[in-house]
């Protein structure tokens, strides 16, 4: 399930580095077509503007932490459901930020990404009709001192793998079965592998959370196959439908084979 996206990602890194020296095509649509062909094996992408939304600020205030929200907004009566969302930051060294496979009832995913330069960003949804739908937006990278790399090296090493899980309690009279939101956080430097060690001049190895899964009881709610554009300390907020289970469980695997996990009781609605 996760092996293929990682290979695709590595391929995308190789692609972008090998093509970094010759002039890139000026038309950003060209780079998107190339990426889309590689990532989705040439499958057709339909216009998704009536089905999904992609929310990002026009200007990336902090290049290391750019909030992004994707939502499925299926029209009333549409019986299709969301299967997965893929987030692509076209001009980043490895454009595929992450693919999220979702369980029943998940309609919103919010996370934070690195943005290296002015870029188009694409979200591609796969619905239960097995078709792909795309939307895009444009983000300007902020100038200033912000840089899209991890910051506090000592802190990162000391807290590696710590997890947090938050459930957002709605104090309204919504029924217990109404959609709710939760957030999974994991402390991890998510080093991109594109930075050089200043002494050896070798690249610091890729060190990222490559897969993160969250279950509600025995039901998989969310599975992220992550790339290097996910910010330090990966952080995902998502909507879900309560299924009556009493526990949430999360498991993360990084590129060095560490496995991190946690369990939290489902909090009652108020």
């Amino acid at each position: 399930m996760c092996a293929r996206p990682v290979i695709v990602m590595a391929f995308a890194v190789a692609m972008s580095w090998s093509s970094a020296q010759p002039a890139l095509p000026a038309d950003s649509n060209d780079s998107w077509r190339e990426i889309a062909n590689n990532v989705f094996n040439g499958r057709p992408l339909a216009d998704g503007s009536q089905l999904i939304t992609l929310e990002m600020a026009e200007r990336a205030e902090d290049a290391a932490i750019v909030p992004v929200t994707m939502r499925a907004n299926l029209p009333a009566g549409d019986t299709r459901t969301l299967r997965s969302l893929t987030l692509v930051i076209d001009e980043n060294p490895s454009p595929v930020a992450a693919t999220f496979n979702v369980g029943p009832g998940v309609a919103m995913i919010s996370t934070r990404v690195r943005v290296n330069s002015n870029t188009k960003v694409h979200a591609v949804a796969e619905l239960s009709d097995a078709k792909l739908y795309e939307v895009d937006t444009y983000v300007k990278a902020s100038g200033g001192c912000s840089a899209p790399m991890a910051n506090n090296a000592e802190d990162a090493a000391a807290r590696l793998g710590q997890m947090r899980f938050r459930q957002f309690i709605k104090t309204t009279t919504a029924p217990a079965s109404a959609p709710r939101e939760a957030q999974i956080m994991i402390h991890h430097p998510n080093n991109s592998g594109l930075q050089r060690d200043q002494v050896s001049l070798l690249y610091i190895p890729l060190f990222i959370v490559r897969q993160l899964r969250v279950w509600q009881g025995d039901q998989l709610v969310l599975e992220m196959d992550g790339g290097i554009s996910i910010s330090e300390n990966p952080n995902i907020r998502f909507s879900y439908l309560p299924n009556g289970a009493s526990m949430f469980r999360a498991e993360a695997v990084d590129t060095e084979g560490h496995v991190f996990w946690g369990e939290w009781p489902v909090e009652p609605t108020m």
């Binding site: 205030e61 902090d62 990278a141 200033g144 001192c145 840089a147 000592e154 200043q198």
Partner: protein, 320 residues
């Protein structure tokens, strides 16, 4: 742990670098002989201590990237330069300003942290000047330097052509003293605060503290390290026996420790607003518009940096 930097063992290595340096500086001189650069305007802020006060603005080609305060300390044996500015052109204008004051050699080039407005002028200074910075500075400049060169290209244009990423050869783990002959500079590296590589320089003779971007006045503080670390550092800085401070941005000199008050108020407000927004479950994107909004009228460049500061603070404080 107090270390004293020994100049003696350096000399043999310095001889080699001196020769290389002479060759390089000769080339540099020839390349730029056509252009006569105006020396940076400087204020004397204490005996033998001079500061150019940067414009409160974003770096641009029009301002040579000269937006940070840069300065130098003149001792009997030579000069210590503290930050070199946002372009090699600014660095050369700083060197011209130094040459109006003294013919003594530049012994040390100290970078207070890795941001481009403080280090992009480094290439104006050549060996045998010794480059000094925090133990985290080599990593930060090497990781971020290439990114900064690319991201500042639209604003700075060809002014960046000559910029070289020059990490320090002498680093400070905790404290280090540099002897300028008749005066001693005490360098201190700090925990992640404004950035991950903050360093202060204290001149014991005059009681003047070069704070780098650990102190902002007028220019909104910029958070690129740790908000909790910075507030802790501010409390420790306040106890230093300084008489006045050269802030990283703002006037060339300000009274100590009162100069810490405005940024402390801002950072505390930012911290408490973020904590409150986190508690209420407000998502980070919405929170970045709200946190510290009440501080807007007190700072220049608020719109350019506040949302960014809020984003950084929020993502740190979420882990409390």
């Amino acid at each position: 742990m107090r270390a004293h930097y020994e100049a003696v063992p350096l000399r043999s290595a310095a001889l080699i670098t001196l020769l290389v340096g002479l060759l390089l500086s000769r080339t540099a001189t020839l390349t730029h002989s056509q252009e006569v650069l105006k020396p940076l305007s400087i204020d004397q802020v204490g005996s033998g201590i001079y500061v150019h006060s940067g414009e409160i603005a974003l770096m641009s080609g029009a301002n040579d990237g000269a937006i940070a305060n840069v300065g130098f300390v003149v001792g009997a044996k030579g000069v210590a330069v503290i930050d070199t500015g946002g372009s090699v052109r600014e660095g050369r204008r700083l060197l011209s300003a130094i040459r109006q004051i003294t013919d003594e050699p530049v012994l040390y080039v100290i970078n207070t942290h890795a941001h481009p407005d403080h280090v992009f002028g480094n290439a104006a200074f050549l060996p045998p000047a010794v480059f000094v910075g925090s133990h985290n500075l080599p990593r930060q400049v090497m990781e971020r330097g290439p990114y900064y060169l690319k991201s500042f290209r639209p604003a700075m244009g060809s002014l960046l052509d000559e910029v070289r990423i020059l990490p320090p050869s002498v680093t400070v783990d905790d404290e280090l003293q540099l002897d300028l002959g008749d005066r001693m500079l005490t360098l201190r590296a700090w925990r992640a605060s404004h950035s991950d590589s903050d360093l202060t320089v204290f001149d014991e003779r005059t009681g003047i503290l070069f704070a780098g971007d650990l102190v902002f006045l007028r220019h909104i503080p910029v958070l690129d390290g740790s908000i909790r670390g910075w507030l802790k550092t501010i409390n420790e800085l306040a106890r230093l026996p300084a008489k006045s401070v050269v802030p990283g941005h703002g006037p060339p000199s300000a009274p100590w420790p009162a100069a810490l008050d405005p940024e402390k108020t801002y950072l505390e407000r930012l911290q408490s607003d973020c904590r409150d927004l986190i508690k209420r479950g407000v998502p980070i994107a919405a929170a970045s518009e709200l946190a510290a909004a009440s501080e807007k009228s007190h700072w220049d460049l608020f719109n350019e940096y506040n949302a960014r500061n809020a984003t950084a603070a929020f993502s740190e404080l979420e882990w409390e």
